[in-house]
């Protein structure tokens, strides 16, 4: 993990990315797209390589798929709901699953395009933006204080895309230990809510 930016720098960066998204959405601004490219392309390649080490072509393909989606779908990005990073992370996650499926890694008829759908929630919650930023801060403050073991498991699951079972095998730990480490880590991050009325 690299975390070289201070909190202020992080906020400034987020702000810059949001502006770039706006320019792409409203004016098809290639220069702004270039800024997004330079920031996210190395992360996207890294995200793909974490799942499939050595698969350089797949990493390029994932990067291309995601960034072209950013270009085409910039108008659907809602800054109240998610930071640019979160939005791009979800695109990357979905695209990685889709690429793995196309390459025959999952033999199933289930089309991931129908899962992880944005719930078109028309109710514009005025606090959405505030809540989202609060959670972001909570994660940034608490993540580095998680134990190395907890961070290791979260990295396996999120970055390497490993199931709990695969993580257990690779770390030579019981399945129950993997689950409890994740559970405790999430508790420490304090980001989850309980029983919101529908």
């Amino acid at each position: 993990m690299v975390s070289s930016l201070t909190e202020e720098e992080q906020i400034a960066l987020q702000h810059k990315m949001r502006q770039c998204m706006q320019k792409v959405a409203q004016h098809r601004d290639k220069e702004a797209f270039g800024v997004l490219f330079d920031h996210f392309a190395p992360l996207l390649r890294s995200f793909s390589l974490a799942r499939e080490p050595g698969a350089s072509l797949m990493a390029d393909e994932l990067t291309q798929v995601v960034l072209l989606k950013v270009w085409e779908k910039a108008h659907t990005y809602n800054s109240d709901k998610a930071s640019v990073s979160t939005w791009i992370y979800t695109l990357a996650r979905n695209s990685r699953i889709d690429l793995l499926r196309r390459s025959g890694r999952y033999t199933t008829e289930i089309d991931p395009e129908y899962l992880w759908q944005e719930t078109e929630d028309e109710s514009t919650d005025p606090f959405l933006d505030v809540q989202q930023k609060r959670a972001e801060k909570s994660i940034a403050d608490a993540f580095e204080h998680l134990s190395i073991d907890q961070r290791q498991v979260l990295t396996k699951v999120y970055l390497e895309g490993k199931t709990h079972q695969e993580s257990a095998e690779e770390l030579a730990l019981p399945l129950g230990t993997i689950k409890s480490r994740i559970r405790l880590a999430l508790k420490k991050l304090q980001i989850l809510v309980r029983n919101q009325p529908c």
């Binding site: 098809r28 190395p42 291309q64 072209l68 990073s85 289930i110 994660i139 309980r194």
Partner: protein, 226 residues
């Protein structure tokens, strides 16, 4: 809608990490569409994913890749941000089918190929997961009971319509529950309405011996007739 049974935190985080088998992800997806709490939590757990993603060591990017991507920009479909939001024109008849199931159920559950499991139960297999999991819809008549049964693998269930109860409680529309292979249960639909559930039965642990290979097709059966 009152939802009492949710996926565990670690299961929901696996969903948000995209590391769950697609069959299980489908079952969670159906729950999340109906559950405000899990919608919020999915958003938070994706923010966690974004944090981890953001803090990975960046990989090198070849200049060719940048050129290749930029050369395609002008040919891509053109969307400009508009202020009006497109209204999601979903037909009324299809309102009860969750979006994630639209790939298998175009408009309503009656169109599926239901086969009788017992007097009270019908089942429609909708697909298989890559890991040998069986994804089906179960339909229990109002007041109908299933036979006492266990399964070889874990079973994920999301209640799509109506409610059922068993030894461990009442499960209503939107509720999500996982049963492990040790769990013996005998679900029954409540008397007021039929109950439709999405179930994902994990493939059983494969026994590899000569004798058990012969036994396997028998062991695989999830629901014996009542």
């Amino acid at each position: 809608m009152l939802i009492h049974h949710h996926p565990t935190d670690e299961l929901l985080s696996a969903y948000c990490a995209g590391s769950l088998p697609l069959s299980q992800a489908l079952c969670l997806s159906a729950h999340i569409e109906m559950c405000k709490t899990c919608q919020t939590n999915s958003q938070r757990l994706s923010q966690l994913g974004a944090y981890i993603f953001n803090h990975t060591k960046p990989a090198t990017v070849n200049n060719d890749l940048k050129e290749k991507i930029f050369s395609q920009l002008d040919q891509r479909p053109y969307h400009l941000k508009t202020t009006e939001r497109k209204s999601m024109a979903a037909g009324h008849a299809s309102a009860e089918v969750p979006k994630c199931l639209k790939q298998f159920v175009a408009s309503n559950y009656d169109e599926l190929n239901w086969h009788r499991v017992s007097f009270a139960i019908r089942q429609a297999n909708i697909c298989t997961g890559g890991n040998g999991a069986q994804v089906s819809l179960m339909r229990i008549k109002a007041g109908g009971k299933a036979g006492l049964h266990t399964h070889m693998g874990n079973e994920f269930t999301t209640v799509l319509k109506g409610a059922f109860s068993d030894e461990s409680g009442l499960f209503q529309q939107g509720d999500f529950v996982v049963r492990d292979s040790q769990h013996k249960h005998r679900p029954a639909a409540t008397k007021d309405s039929e109950c439709i559930c999405l179930t994902v039965l994990e493939a059983p642990i494969q026994f590899t011996g000569y004798f058990t290979r012969w036994l396997n097709p028998l062991l695989r059966r999830g629901y014996p007739s009542a």
